[in-house]
Each structure stands twice: as structure tokens, then as C-alpha cells.
């Protein structure tokens, strides 16, 4: 199976503080890779290095088996922390901006993407009037423009109500199963991540301390939350 993301000793220093320390990981095609960690563990910093928003202090990464990162990043869609949308523009106009940037002239792409994320009835509504859940879906729609093969989602369900959480979870599952999109998703809401991810990576103090699959977790008979707590206790001891 093709590797979509491979990191080799990725480290990020902010002054004297090591936000990410020597992380080597591998995300395979078709995975939904769940990044678990406490607040400030280094999840967001790592994702920002993957998508090019932050430069690693040391280490390297490969995207789709190549070190040509600018080409690789054209095949990635990103949602980092809060949804990044133009509030004064409608959903349709937000996607139009992205289409022009990606060189896509076919307007059907906008219609199809709005339908995929379930925002087609609100396409003419300004983003500032959207609920948080709708903004998150719009942010995912923006990330989907250009037909990315790899989605990096950082805390996409933060602040959502239960209905919003279910909608985003089902959307991610549809994108993975129906469209074959590999997903790297970080969250500290473990209950939701356990229903979604096929592989997990636990990060603490910038260090990737453990990786395991959902199958391995199932075979242990463990609940993800309890397993994560036991890992943290082991780290602190």
C-alpha cells in the first residue's frame, strides 16, 4: 500500500522549547489516522509542519513517496483548528475563491462539493451567518476543492454540538470509504476518534510514544479513553 505521509525525525523548536521531538511516522493510503494527545502535546504543530505552515527545525518528510513537497501539497486538503472562511462571502463564493486558486473553471465542482458536505441548500448564505458546524463543513468543502487524496484535519469537531459531531464524523467516513481519501485527524475527544480512526498515534510532549491499530485496540478489549489514560500513566511513571 502506498505511503501517503512519512516523517523522519521531525523536530520543531520554539526558542528552547521542543514542541515536536524526533517524530517518525507513516500514514498509509486509505487510513484514517487518529492523532491523540493532550492540549499542547504537539499535534497541531506536527500537522502544520506536514502541510507547510511551519518549517521543521530538523528532520524531513515525504508526501506520496516523494520529497518534492510543493507538488505533494497540491494533493492535500487542510483544515487547521478553527474553520478558515471569508465571513463576508457566501458558501459558494468561498469555494469560488478556492477554485480560482486551484485553476478549476468547471462550476459543477462547486455544486458537487456543496452537495458532498451537505451545504447545497445554504450556498447563497453568507458564512458569517453559519453555525459552527456549518462553518466546519464549509472549511472541509474548501479543503476538498482540487480533489485532494489526503485530508489533514486538526481538531475538526471542537466546539460542535452532538448533532454537528455526528455530521462531521459521517462526512469523514463517507470521504474515506466512498472517495478513497486518506485522513489524518487530530482530536482530544477520544470517544469520537475511536469511532472513526483505523490507526492511532499517541503524542505527548512532542514525542510520538505509541502507535496502534483499531484492530489491536479491539483485540486488547480496551476502550480508547482508558487505554490512552494507561499510556499517559506509563509515561508519567
Amino acid at each position: 500500500m502506498e505511503s501517503v505521509l512519512k516523517t523522519h525525525g521531525l523536530t520543531k523548536l520554539y526558542g528552547g522549547h521542543q514542541a515536536v521531538s524526533n517524530v517518525s511516522m507513516n500514514v498509509q493510503q486509505g487510513d484514517i489516522y487518529g492523532f491523540i494527545g493532550r492540549n499542547g502535546a504537539g499535534k497541531t504543530t506536527l500537522i502544520r509542519m506536514v502541510v507547510g505552515l511551519a518549517a521543521p527545525s530538523t528532520g524531513s518528510l515525504e508526501l506520496f513517496g516523494s520529497t518534492n513537497l510543493s507538488e505533494g501539497r497540491k494533493r492535500i486538503g487542510t483544515v487547521i483548528e478553527s474553520p478558515a472562511v471569508y465571513p463576508h462571502m457566501t458558501a459558494r463564493q468561498n469555494l469560488e475563491v478556492q477554485c480560482r486558486m486551484m485553476g478549476i473553471q468547471d462550476k459543477r465542482v462547486i455544486n458537487d462539493t456543496l452537495i458532498t458536505v451537505g451545504l447545497d441548500p445554504q450556498d447563497k448564505k453568507k458564512a458569517k451567518n453559519f453555525s459552527l458546524g456549518m462553518k466546519q463543513r464549509l472549511a472541509i468543502a474548501i479543503a476538498l476543492i482540487g480533489s485532494p487524496e489526503f485530508l489533514c484535519l486538526d481538531e475538526p469537531i471542537n466546539g460542535l454540538d452532538p448533532t454537528g459531531i455526528i455530521e462531521i464524523r459521517e462526512l469523514i467516513q463517507r470521504l474515506n470509504q466512498d472517495h478513497g481519501i486518506t485522513v489524518l485527524i487530530s482530536s482530544h475527544i477520544l470517544g469520537e476518534l475511536s469511532k472513526l480512526a483505523t490507526r492511532f498515534g499517541v503524542i505527548e510532549n512532542g514525542v510520538l510514544i505509541q502507535e496502534f491499530t483499531s484492530e489491536e485496540l479491539w483485540n486488547k478489549g480496551e476502550d480508547l479513553e482508558k487505554y490512552f489514560v494507561s499510556i499517559m500513566k506509563g509515561v508519567q511513571a
Binding site: R48, S70, K74, T78, I80, S82, A84, Q93, G103
Partner: protein
């Protein structure tokens, strides 16, 4: 790069602030001419009623300023930088809001080089500054032409006007580069507007104070005025209307110098800093 430019052009077209500022500039340009006309009428009436009005000790000069104006004689005063304040507003919003909304992440994470992203913003910022300058100049001059005619607008006038306008647009691009640099450093719309406004307004005064302090502390006399090497001082110099060699050279030096230095600094910092 083309795709970034198309995307940025679309974003600009959806910004209400650019249309509001353009409208205000047109109204300002037209309004200033009518104000001048009104003042001229008042002065003429006063003089006709025996009131003595002098400018620099001369009644003739006062009458010349407030009456006997034409579009050709007023054209240089339209290049005094009235559009710069509005450029501050639009450029600061255009550049800094990408960071405020977080949408810069949508651009920077798609494989575009930081250089191209910055240059796309710079190109349109220059476009906004040039557009506002031309708009004000057109509104001002055409209104004057409508009220008082063109006056002495022969080939010499147009040659001089083209030179003045070209230099004015160079200074506007230099301002745009400065505002783009500051907006991309501050990364916050309100802060960018405030800092850009302070830099535009107070830099000449601060340079004068600095020069006074240096001359007093070190008991030296500098051969040139530091404040005459600011963008605003050079814009004001163009309103005199004369394209003397020393003024042209100084404007070129200041305009190109500011443009190049601020572009290099802005690019360097934008490439190095992480995007949060």
C-alpha cells in the same frame, strides 16, 4: 502565479471597502473643487467690497490662488497623496484579514511558494494605490475642467503632467509596498491600519526630531534634510508642478528605494515566519 492573481482579484472584487473608499475619493475630488470655487467667490466679493486680502504680502497672489484657476494649473495639486489614506484602509484589510480569518492557511498549505503568495498581494496592493490616485486625480481635474476649462493645456503641459503622474504612481507603489510589508508583519487588520497611518503621518516629524537631536548632540550640521527623503515629502514636492532634475532624481531614488527595501524585508519575514 496566475491562479493566485485570479483568486486575489476575485477577493478584491468582493471587498465592500474598496468601493466605499473609491466613492468617497470621487466625492472628495469633486467637493474640493467646488470648495475652491466657493472660496474664490467669497474672496472676489470681499475684494470688490474693499476688503484687503493678501497672501505672502500680495493681494495679486491671493486672488490668483482663489480665482483664475484652470484644470491645467490645478492638476499638480491633485497629486498630493489624498488617496494614500484610503490605500491604507484597503491594503491593510486586504492583506491582514487573510491572517485574521485564517484563510492564509488555505493558500499556504496548497503548495504555493511563500514568495508567490506575497508578490500576488503586493501586485494588487500597488494596483489599489494606483487606482485610488488616478481616481482622485481624474475627479479633481475633470471637475476643475468642467467649471473653469482646461486653460493652458498644450503639448508641454501634457508632457509635464505625464512625468508628474508617473512619479506620483511610483511613490504610490512605494507606499503600497510599505503598507503590505507592515500588514503582513502585524497580521491583524486594526493594528495594521493604525501602524500604517502612524508611519504615514508621523515619520517626517520623527525624522526631523532625529536630525535635530543628532545635530545638537554631535555638534554637526547635516548636508541634507532627512525628512525630505520621506514618501510624503516627495509627494508634496510634486504638487509644485515643476519637474526639476534634482526633484526627479530624489523622487526616483526615494520611490525605488522604499519599494525595493520594503519588498525585500516583507518577503524575507513572510517566508521565514510560521503561519499560525
Amino acid at each position: 502565479m496566475n491562479r493566485l492573481l485570479k483568486s486575489d482579484l476575485y477577493k478584491l472584487s468582493k471587498m465592500k471597502s474598496i468601493f466605499i473608499c473609491a466613492l468617497i475619493l470621487i466625492v472628495m475630488g469633486i467637493g474640493l473643487i467646488f470648495l475652491l470655487d466657493f472660496s474664490g467667490t467669497m474672496v472676489q466679493t470681499a475684494v470688490d467690497n474693499g476688503v484687503s486680502i493678501e497672501l505672502n504680502g500680495s493681494e495679486e497672489q491671493a486672488l490668483q490662488i482663489f480665482t483664475n484657476q484652470t484644470a491645467a494649473s490645478l492638476f499638480p495639486s491633485s497629486l498630493g497623496g489624498d488617496g494614500v489614506l484610503f490605500s491604507i484602509i484597503v491594503i491593510s484589510i486586504f492583506v491582514a484579514c487573510e491572517f485574521g480569518f485564517g484563510t492564509i492557511k488555505n493558500i499556504a498549505s496548497r503548495g504555493f511558494s511563500r514568495t508567490k503568495i506575497y508578490l500576488s498581494k503586493l501586485i494588487f496592493s500597488c494596483g489599489v494605490a494606483v487606482f485610488f490616485s488616478l481616481l482622485f486625480c481624474a475627479a479633481y481635474t475633470l471637475t476643475a475642467a468642467g467649471l473653469w476649462g482646461w486653460g493652458d493645456a498644450g503639448p508641454e503641459f501634457w508632457k509635464n503632467a505625464a512625468g508628474l503622474l508617473g512619479l506620483n504612481l511610483l511613490l504610490n507603489c512605494a507606499y503600497a509596498s510599505l503598507f503590505t510589508m507592515i500588514s503582513s508583519l502585524i497580521r491583524q487588520t486594526g493594528g495594521a491600519i493604525a501602524i500604517n497611518f502612524c508611519v504615514m503621518s508621523f515619520a517626517p516629524m520623527l525624522l526631523e526630531l532625529l536630525q535635530m537631536a543628532i545635530e545638537k548632540l554631535f555638534h554637526v550640521t547635516m548636508a541634507f534634510q532627512l525628512s525630505s527623503y520621506t514618501l510624503s515629502a516627495n509627494m508634496n514636492a510634486l504638487t509644485e508642478g515643476a519637474l526639476q532634475n534634482d526633484i526627479v532624481l530624489r523622487v526616483l531614488f526615494v520611490g525605488i528605494g522604499f519599494f525595493v527595501v520594503t519588498t525585500i524585508i516583507g518577503l524575507y519575514v513572510f517566508r521565514k515566519r510560521d503561519i499560525k
